[in-house]
């Protein structure tokens, strides 16, 4: 671009512009999606007033019932929703990081769902079958889940490297193998909880109390250490990618395997490590689900958090902190979504917002063109 004498903008302003340019392809789709979904509720559920009420209910369900707090209710009206939001945000963050980690080396891990399931099962088994002091039991369960998830992800990576099998296909297959083997065989069969007195419980045996994730604010709220684990993982992954040679090798291998190889990077080892990490993160999500909320592997895991991870990774543009931010937002919306049922909107409605946002993020070219029009880059340019 030709400019006679460009007045050099302040560094801060330039940084803000760069940040806005980078965030636009995430923020604009989220806002568009919220708007579309608002219109859908207004059109199908009886007008704008209902939609406003429903969206407000979702908001208070996510960030805490601020109006009631102002009316003098106890702080529990904040803590309880925070617990639900944080629980969901932790799961989304971990599966989102899982997908994002694999993305960095150029692999699309659709298998986070399967890795989450084997991780959840490993945590449930170690949590119930092993007896350890509390200081060791939780970590042992987390380690088992991370290992199980990591190994389950290693298969597709090896198949890709040795046989050229596309990881999208192999991880889709492994997702369904996990569903069939775990939820149709192991959980209702050999691992089913043995309960005395003729009572029957679906799912595996309940884990010992020593294995449960510690609650952060007592019994008032389900807020547990899972969100700290997830946020910690996001920061560690960010530092790893941004500051360490190993993380630099991941990025190099993802951007151009040939160039990376020419530069002396062991691409094979790099890919295997990244996929192991990816699977371990998904496995940890499974552990957080079991150790934090379910206390056992239930008859069925329900929501497909592994697939949600794809949405989190992409809306967060593969940046660990972007994933954390996106997951916090959608974790909140999904916790608050249960409050929308009063207005005749199914509790899975936030998943619609999330899916639509992903669909819009997918149209990346649209947003980058918009960014070029609204916030033209001052320098550089291709």
């Amino acid at each position: 671009m030709l400019e006679a004498t460009p007045t050099p903008p302040g560094r801060l302003r330039r940084a803000a512009r760069e940040l806005a340019r980078a965030a636009l392809p995430s923020v604009a789709p989220i806002l568009t999606s919220l708007l579309v979904c608002f219109v859908a509720v207004a059109a199908l559920r009886g007008g704008v007033a209902v939609a406003v009420d429903a969206f407000l209910a979702m908001t208070w369900g996510a960030i805490g019932d601020v109006p009631r707090l102002l009316e003098g209710a106890s702080v529990a009206v904040l803590l309880r929703p925070w617990g639900e939001s944080a629980t969901k945000a932790a799961l989304l963050t971990l599966t989102g990081l899982s997908v994002a980690a694999a993305f960095r080396v150029g692999l699309f891990n659709i298998g986070a769902q399967g890795q989450l399931m084997v991780g959840a099962l490993a945590a449930a088994v170690v949590g119930a079958a092993v007896e350890l002091p509390a200081a060791l039991h939780g970590p042992a369960c987390l380690l088992a889940a991370a290992l199980a998830g990591g190994l389950y992800a290693l298969g597709p990576a090896l198949l890709k490297l040795s046989r050229g099998v596309h990881e999208v296909i192999s991880t889709i297959m492994l997702n369904w193998v996990a569903v069939a083997l775990i939820e149709n065989w192991l959980v209702p069969g050999p691992l089913r909880a043995q309960v005395g007195g003729g009572n029957s419980v679906a799912g595996t045996a309940q884990i010992h109390e020593t294995a449960e994730l510690p609650r952060l604010v007592g019994e008032v709220s389900r807020l547990n250490a899972g969100i700290l684990l997830a946020a910690g993982a996001a920061v560690v992954l960010w530092l790893w990618l941004a500051r360490f040679v190993g993380g630099y090798e991941w990025r190099a291998a993802g951007l151009g395997p040939e160039a990376a190889r020419a530069a002396g990077i062991d691409v094979r080892r790099t890919v295997l490590r990244a996929m192991l990490t990816s699977g371990a993160l998904a496995g940890l999500a499974g552990a957080v689900l079991v150790l934090g909320t379910e206390q056992r592997y239930p008859a069925t895991l329900g929501a497909p958090y592994g697939f949600d991870g794809i949405a989190m990774a992409l809306i967060g543009q593969g940046h660990p902190l972007g994933v954390l931010a996106t997951s916090t937002l959608f974790g909140g919306l999904r916790a608050g979504g249960t409050r929308m049922q009063l207005f005749g909107v199914h509790k899975s409605f936030p998943e619609l917002i999330q899916g639509l946002a992903l669909l819009l993020v997918a149209a990346r070219l649209v947003w980058t063109k918009l960014a070029d029009r609204w916030l033209p880059a001052r320098e550089g340019g291709p």
């Binding site: 069939a180 497909p304 909107v345 199914h346 997918a362």
Partner: protein, 297 residues
Amino acid sequence: MTAFVLALFDSVLDAAPALVFAAVGTTLSERAGVVNVGVEGMMRAGAFAAAASALVLPTPWAVLVGAGVGAAIGALHGWLCIWARSDQVVSGMAINLVMLALGQFLLEAAFSSPSGTPPITQLTPWLGHSPLTWLAVALPFVVHAVVQRTPFGLRLRAVGEKPEAVAAMGVRVAPLRLAAVVASGALAGLGGAHLSTAVLDRFEHHMPAGLGFMAVAAMVFGRWRPLGAALAALFFSVGDALRLSLASSAPGLLEVVPQGVLLAMPYALTLVVLSLQRRGASRAPAALGRPYDPEVR
């Protein structure tokens, strides 16, 4: 024994068409170079649209509506992949996630029920089975003939192998790919419509319960060929029917081989077939997943 085989045959004829339509449809899209992991969502949309419109329309028309909605979502997938340069896998998974949640939202909004639509009139059987069954018997051969024996089919395959060559021939790549993805969506929608108008008589909230992903497995198992995909779909359906009939007739056998293990078979077998292939011997179209950008040539 004969009765057992006949009953098995009957249940396969009822259940298999959904998978056959979806699997054959997926080959069309992928042969043209566009990955389609959104089949699951397209099937779900077709199943819902067919059931919902069958409440006000004659069922045959409702089936067409189902296929039409599938085609529309195929067009959306095509637009995202071809013009908006979306990652094809991302677009497909996004479609799956949207349809999963949208189906639930619309069920609640239109029928005030989280579990399913009210019952509808099923398609009138023809020679003992839904007309869609007979269509599913004929369709793989038709698609095979179109793909292998017509100039259009040649271009379709070429656009998935080497789009540059097709462009050099003076044929535009984008409309050709779009046509393939739309056809793929229509067939997936038809498969979904079969679920809600022939297998059951309503849309149920969990439909199609992973059948779309099994269609992808069948397509890979059938090595990206319409007849291969249809045969794989048939094979998986026979396996499933066998499992179901064994569950009722010989429960003792299922103690030796658990149902879950049998359920995992289609996916495990597909993985085994893939891992036995030599490196570089993949039958996947060469330009699969690669957007065609004339400036990059």
